[in-house]
């Protein structure tokens, strides 16, 4: 594996985990435009735990993940008081506040960032990503996953079925925060440094696009979306000037052709029907 390929695959793994963090809240019906804030929390938690406090790599990653979960849990309560576009703005504001705090903190390196001493390699990132994919697929097959999708579909009726909407939504924010935090910790260890400029508004927008364009109806969406967004820009490197234009046009076309995302449940039904003609699925 060339160094370039290894680098692209590691970014892919980190983006996939990050996308699943945003997907978990989206699957329960909430748009989180504060992804960069959650990822920054994971990355800086990893930097402090590893560099300042001397924790090992594994325990640092676990604790950084828990930090993301804790912040996701706490932030869920004020954010869930808002609806629709106001929730999107609230999550966006949250990320800006996180970045603002880091930028003005000498302990966190301010604009200089922090340098990591320990490193992880591409395989560790990819195995973790594979574990996260398996975990999310499993979660979505449990009654909790079913309840998340029911809340996404119709909150009042989910309530009538006895689903505790608030608990499901808070759990979605907390587990989403955990995965975004995990992706941040992996980012810190893989790249060997954290700088706050990386966790900007574009990152939040991009990761939300991974999820929305990949599709929120199934757990395949973020995987396909993150792969599409990570690999297509690399493949388009040939014409550097035109790269973002071509990419932008692709996104617009995508939204016109497949507004529900690349992977929909209908599409999966059709694929299953083709592969298994005797299957009972319609």
């Amino acid at each position: 594996m060339s160094g370039y390929m290894a680098g692209v695959l590691a970014i892919l793994g980190i983006n996939v985990i990050f996308a699943y963090g945003i997907y978990l809240t989206a699957a329960a019906g909430q748009l989180n435009l504060g992804g960069a804030g959650f990822q920054a929390i994971g990355a800086y938690a990893a930097a402090i735990l590893s560099v300042e406090l001397g924790f090992g790599i594994v325990s640092t990653i676990v604790l950084a993940t828990l930090a993301g979960a804790l912040i996701g849990f706490l932030i869920a309560f004020p954010i869930l008081r808002t609806r629709g576009v106001y929730m999107v703005l609230a999550t966006f504001a949250f990320a800006e506040v996180v970045v603002g705090i880091i930028l003005n903190s000498d302990t966190l390196g301010g604009a200089m960032g922090m340098i990591m001493f320990d490193y992880i390699e591409t395989p560790a990132v990819l195995w973790t990503a594979a574990g996260v994919v398996a975990f999310v697929f499993y979660l979505m097959s449990t009654p909790i996953g079913l309840a998340m999708r029911a809340v996404h579909d119709d909150e009042p009726v989910a309530d009538l079925m006895g689903v505790n909407n608030r608990a499901i939504q808070v759990a979605a924010f907390a587990s989403g925060g955990a995965l975004a935090g995990l992706s941040g910790a992996l980012y810190a260890f893989y790249f060997g440094f954290v700088e706050v400029q990386y966790f900007n508004a574009f990152l939040s927008i991009f990761v939300l696009l991974y999820v929305l364009i990949g599709g929120t109806q199934t757990a395949w969406g973020p995987l396909i979306g993150a792969a599409f967004f990570t690999l297509i820009p690399e493949a388009l490197r040939i014409g550097e000037d035109w790269r973002f234009l071509i990419f932008g046009v692709l996104i617009v076309l995508m939204m016109i052709v497949r507004p529900e995302g690349i992977v929909t449940r209908d599409a999966i039904d059709r694929i299953v029907a083709r592969l298994m003609p005797g299957d009972r699925r319609a």
């Binding site: 079913l146 119709d154 505790n164 009972r280 319609a282």
Partner: protein, 239 residues
């Protein structure tokens, strides 16, 4: 009495939707609530299901005061609403719609009960893995009833179940309600198809602008000339 509602009062902002309504349903009974559009029938059912909080009044189920309990506790106690307009989950499959109906249960017999619903509705069984959005209106209503059955209810509340269904499907639906009742399920039925409702129900209540204006056996309500003119005749024209 299985369900006892006493002096239930409900306001949405300036709208006084339900004005001190009292009603009850005995174990094994079919009771209907009649009234024109906007009479407060749906609001009454939603308050009983725990979807909205009443301003005053008490709701007792199986002798226990459940007025302050949430919807989930009421579903666990055996109270389930089939909401107006079906309200199935369109991005879930047919089978998943049934499973979410059993969300509050923790016993291992859910899979068996899903199969029992599929035995009852072969049309749904044929499309168990398909998205519920592809079902016809009649199939969606059957799915909504099947979903409610998965919660193992003791009292099923149905809000305008015949709305938008063809006469043949309405007949099937009322046949189903009768079957379920004979198998021991108590029913509280809100209907605008007054004649069908009074045919199947033992007793009924009539709401007007949120207040109870009449109650009695189905035969009494059907024979009441005032009601015939005000409500029952109107649905004749509509039907």
């Amino acid at each position: 009495m299985l369900l006892e509602v006493d002096g239930l009062d409900l306001r949405y902002g300036a709208t006084h939707a339900v004005k001190g309504v009292s009603l009850n349903v005995a174990e094994g009974e079919i009771v209907t609530v009649l009234g024109a559009n906007g009479a407060g029938k749906s609001s009454l059912l939603k308050a009983i299901a725990g979807a909205v909080r009443p301003g005053a009044g008490t709701i007792r189920f199986d002798g226990k005061d459940i007025t302050g309990r949430g919807a989930a506790a009421r579903v666990r106690a055996g109270l389930m609403l089939v909401p107006e307009g079906r309200q199935i989950f369109v991005s879930l499959t047919v089978e998943e719609n049934l499973l979410i109906g059993g969300y509050t249960r923790s016993d291992a017999e859910i899979a068996r009960d899903v199969e029992a619903v599929f035995d009852r509705f072969p049309n749904l069984a044929a499309r168990r893995g398909a998205l519920a959005s592809v079902l016809s209106g009649g199939e969606q209503q059957m799915l909504a009833v099947g979903r409610a059955l998965l919660s193992k209810p003791r009292l099923m509340m149905l809000d305008e179940p015949s709305l938008g269904l063809s006469p043949i499907l309405v007949d099937q639906l009322f046949g189903l309600i009768g079957d379920l009742n004979r198998q021991g399920l108590s029913i509280l039925l809100v209907e605008q198809n007054t004649h069908m409702a009074l045919e199947i129900a033992a007793r009924g209540y009539v709401l007007e602008l949120g207040a109870l204006v009449a109650e009695g056996t189905a035969a009494e309500l059907g024979a009441d000339p005032r009601l015939a003119e005000a409500y029952l005749g109107a649905t004749d024209d509509a039907a």
